[in-house]
């Protein structure tokens, strides 16, 4: 494998890791506050659809992003209502949200666009342009070989849409919020011991709703990036299990932001490798593409089982909080 194809794989790793990273950090806020969220997939899907539909209708990708965030936050509100206010089963609510998104996007998509569930292709201002960073060389098919650093900078780091850079920026921001602000401290506390937070006079309900809203916001960005950045339009079931991979990455990262970045890059790399190579011949054994695709799930099972390290979720996760009277 030559340098250019290696760098191309890294480049697509970053592209494929971006929606995972958004969704993974989204899940981090919710789960750190004690609300399990297996509905990341559904929120991403509905956001991808809303973003593509609004971008197509208005011709502006930013309106699309806002619509995606709005749709995702609406779904997050349903989840919040079910799991915070009505103290329902958070896992079942998540399952319902995934199905709701999967059905609703096809029903509305088919009747609005008459394309069997997909949106018309987005062009021009209706999708994100790739940004060429300062000092980077615009990569074309006949770019002459550059110096190593220049190659890495131009091919891998430069040339992504704005949301990619936003997603990477979200990691330090999340770390800062979580570990350096009052809100973050309370958020972590409410996921471990909501009664203590309540005793301190802080509203458990308010904190959890705030966390769920941030989850909606970030899932909205994840979905919007999928339909307006990664590809040019909405396809039915286009998230294709990425919400679950993000959840897996979250467990893999043990609910910590910097590790989430690493986990998402790893799973993005696996995805990029599976897309590019199909079966990989290592000389002594052929790794089938199906194995590469299943690897994120297998790794998560191994981590969860504590064979390599131990993933301990926030202690109050999944349990509705009942205020003492």
């Amino acid at each position: 494998m030559d340098l250019v194809s290696f760098l191309q794989i890294l480049d697509s790793t970053i592209r494929l890791a971006t929606p995972l990273l958004f969704a993974c950090l989204a899940g981090l806020y919710s789960e750190r506050s004690g609300i399990f969220d297996i509905g990341l997939e559904g929120k991403m899907l509905v956001a991808a659809f809303a973003a593509a539909a609004a971008a197509y209708a208005t011709g502006s990708v930013w309106v699309g992003v806002l619509a995606g965030i709005g749709a995702s936050m609406l779904f997050a509100a349903i989840h919040g209502l079910a799991s915070i206010t009505f103290r329902g089963n958070q896992l079942i609510s998540g399952v319902a949200i995934n199905f709701l998104a999967s059905g609703l996007t096809v029903v509305l998509g088919t009747s609005w666009f008459h394309l069997g569930g997909q949106s018309p292709a987005l062009t021009g201002g209706a999708r994100f342009e790739d940004i060429v960073l300062p000092f980077a060389t615009q990569i074309t098919t006949n770019t002459p070989p550059l110096g190593l650093l220049d190659e890495v900078y131009s091919r891998v780091i430069s040339g992504h849409s704005i949301l990619v850079y936003v997603s990477f920026l979200t990691v330090p921001v999340t770390w800062w919020i979580l570990y350096r602000t009052r809100f973050g401290l309370r958020l972590r506390a409410v996921g471990e011991n909501p009664a203590a937070v309540d005793t301190a006079g802080v509203s458990v309900t308010g904190l959890r709703y705030a966390a769920v809203a941030i989850t909606g916001l970030l899932c909205g960005l994840a979905g919007a990036y999928m339909s307006t950045g990664l590809s040019a339009g909405f396809l039915r079931e286009m998230t294709a299990g990425r919400g679950y991979i993000a959840l897996a990455a979250l467990i893999f990262a043990k609910w910590r932001p910097w590790y989430a970045l690493m986990a998402c890059m790893l799973f993005g790399l696996l995805d990029a490798v599976a897309i590019r190579f199909q079966n990989i011949n290592l000389g002594f054994v052929v790794v089938p593409v199906q194995f590469t695709q299943a690897l994120p799930y297998i790794l998560t099972v191994i981590i969860l089982a504590g064979f390599v390290g131990k993933a301990i979720p926030p202690r109050a996760g999944g349990e509705p909080y009942v205020k003492e009277r």
Binding site: L81, G88, N98, G103, V107, W112, G117
Partner: protein, 363 residues
Amino acid sequence: MDKLPRWADVVLVPLICLIIAFVICGVLIWGIGQDPADALKIMVQGSLGSTYAWGYTLYYATNFMFTGLAVSIAFQASLFNIGGEGQATLGGLGVALSCLLIPWPHWTLALIGSIAASALFGAAWALIPAWLQARRGSHIVITTMMFNFISFALMNYVLVNMLRPLGSMDPASARFPAAVNLPKLGDILGLVGIPFSSKNPANISLLIALAAAVGVWALMWHTRLGYELRAFGKSEKAAVYAGISPVRITLYALALSGGLSGMMAINAVQGEAHRLLLNSVEGAGFIGIAVALMGRNHPFGIVLASILFGFLYEGGSQLALGTSIPREVITVLQALVILFTGALPYMVQKPLEHLFALRRRTA
């Protein structure tokens, strides 16, 4: 706290949830410029209007009975098995291997073989997450969900690289020999003089599903194991105090659950497709969640809820054929049923409790 009368809890609450879900879907259909009343008429006619249509409804219902019972057993033990999809996929592999590798002389023997193989494969696939939860403390919901995805990859690999006949392009196994084909429901009912179309996929598996429902009822309410499962589900601490081993109960619950999910393949793989396809489960594992919630975890309720969802599923296909309403409307309905019966039961229960309390006071 004013309790609801039992009949209201068992019948009224799910019924109200269903009505709310139907109304929302009606609004959705109206919103995309179609007539909801028309849609309902097409669904009823297309899935209940003839014995031919009933056959399809009952075929789907059979799948849902297996997966619904599977989810309910785990629910009773307070475990959420979201991996029915993967367990049914593996069950399909069991059925295919049994039908392809063993030269069965007669379908009755092949059926016994398939039941054993599908239950064994499904149970084995569920036992790994169960063991991981019981012994290693990993969360069963996440693990079974991951196992769904692993099972799809595994099935893809097995079909493409092992079971695919030479020269065939699509990822599916060879056809099963004709000797293992199961008798159609129409043929069975014909024997006792009931005219029923046999041009549909409904087959003898329906009777097995009904027998399984009776079996689950007997197990849960008339055996020691069933009692232990329910006690564990009500309160783990009390169960442990009473000498019930959490490890043992988790393993039993998931083995039974996975086995039942796997048995779905008798209907879908041996009864209908006659070969193993890549996606033989078609979401039935997930619909099982809705069925178990709607049926209130009771086998009788699950059988009824399965027929309801069979009607919805077949009705959805009829919608797609007869109108421009996509069949995914049914997915929305299914999602709403899960949401209202599973995640928002208090939203319906609380006002009802107030209503009943009010009536009692005035009476």
